[in-house]
Amino acid sequence: MGAHHHEVVSVEEQFEFTAESKRNLLIGMGIGAALVLVGAYLLSQGGGHGHEAHDAAHAAAGHAAEHAHDHGHGYHWTQRIIANLWVNSVYFAGISVVGMFFISYNYLAQAGWSAVFKRVPEAMPAFLPIPAIIIIVIAVLFGDKLFHWMHEGIMDPTSEHYDAIIAGKKGFLNKPFYYIRLVLYFGLWYGLWRVIRTLSLQEDEIGGTANYYKSIKFGTAFLVVFAVTSSTSAWDLVMSIDTHWFSTMFGWYTLASWHVAGLATMTLTIVTLKEKGYLKAVNASHLHDLGKFCFAFSIFWTYVWFAQFLLIYYANLPEETIYFRERFSGYGGIYKAPFFVNIILNFVLPFLVLMTRDSKRTSIILKVACWSILVGHYFDFYTNIMPGTVGANGGFGAVEFGFVLLFACGFIWSVSTQLTKANLIPRNHPMLEESLHHDVA
């Protein structure tokens, strides 16, 4: 009865990464790898519509100057593999770093309610090195397969491929600076996470409030870093693919996308852990608030998505509308379905499903909404990255499924490993007592 009569639950819980889970994840990765290989083989044989579209693109190249991708660079099927690696790396890097983002703003706000499940967001950024390495290797070795501005001679006035608009962006979009930025992003994100993680694990052993106050400082430092790097990394990793086009909303838009996907991952992990008998101290009020987070930030994403769309739609400037033209009706309309799936899974479904109080307190409904958001935001990055990289040669087949499976299983493996490294509930967190009694009625 009421907040003052909660049953006292044990905070001593050790997560076990069972052999069965490991086997299932390995099977998942095996299937993923097999799908990628089969898909790659089919692509190399010119399966699907690849070849005709390729030919058509060449035929149309003469009068398709507005298409950013016909600058003398022929399409090769491996581009689709690279583009897929890029989509998944960007998406999962975002989800990982949002774990750190969540911890940081909870420290800065000195929030109490989230202490009990803090280990879950804390486990997420451990995956960062994998997408980081993939992104940096691709950028260095195959950057010109993805980025229009990395094409040979694009900034050289004497070259036939010279593009004055892109050359004008040379101050920011040049290879050395780009590589430095990539290293800085991942280095800062991962490095600051390591500091916070170490402080948190140490706090479990020594108690006290010293580590808590240090964490607030490092969390705040991360937020300052992320305030800048979330926007610039969104330009670098996603927006600069369509080099001619730009949107001042794009940084926020990508942050909103990453953030809500990260929140859905957290919620889904917590609900799953609870179903497996862990995190007994997480009560309906915690789930309710996590549900509110997912609900609120799926609306926030929609708001930013729509704000970006409406300005471009209303102003009707050709150099801006081309972005939506390509997705809505370009390339034989192959991106129209993901374009709408994006809006339905990321806005309509979570909005309607998570609206009532009871739905946010029901595990199964939370799971449905979280899956919808996670699949939806994969398609968000898919629709943002694919048209500019593979254009008419895109699609959704074995390669796409395979890579998602590989990355998802890898991510779950990484999170599970991190969860085993400490008590599942931060037993000496100064706010734990408040969190255990969290009650939003």
Partner: protein, 175 residues
Amino acid sequence: MTDINKKFLVGVYDDDDVVLSAVGKLKNSGVKIYEVYSPFAIHGMDIAIGHPRTRIGIAAFCFGCTGFLCALLLTTWTMGIDWPMVIGGKDPISLPNYVPVMFELTVLFTAFGMTISFFITNGLGPTVKPLLFDPRCTDNKFVMAIDLSKNKLSEAEIASIVKASGAEEVSIKQL
């Protein structure tokens, strides 16, 4: 309000924890509580008293839908039918243009609708004299009101139960 000419037993408490546990004790003794007044929200109080869950959420949804439909009608009729206007080369009736208006009117109708519903259901408003059992409930005391006509137990019995539950003062108030 329909509480005219009713006799209330009023208990004044000093502590929010005491008043919350007192509610449980009174309910166990079979006393029906009319309301508890507090300077701040006490978590779990409405559940303890046994108030039914608020339906303001359902009202909010209905008001929101009304606002959405009104905005759709307003924009479609004025911009598309009564005086069709082409702006930015778009069709007179083009939904993306209308979204900001639909959003704003949804919010406006919901906000006003909820506020007005809240005022009506709680008997608040200009010129309405608020039901105040003890003015100290706006400052530092917690005030419990028990409608004697709704209770089978005698006035003396209830008074002793309330005293035993930790009340500092017990008085009778006629409204």
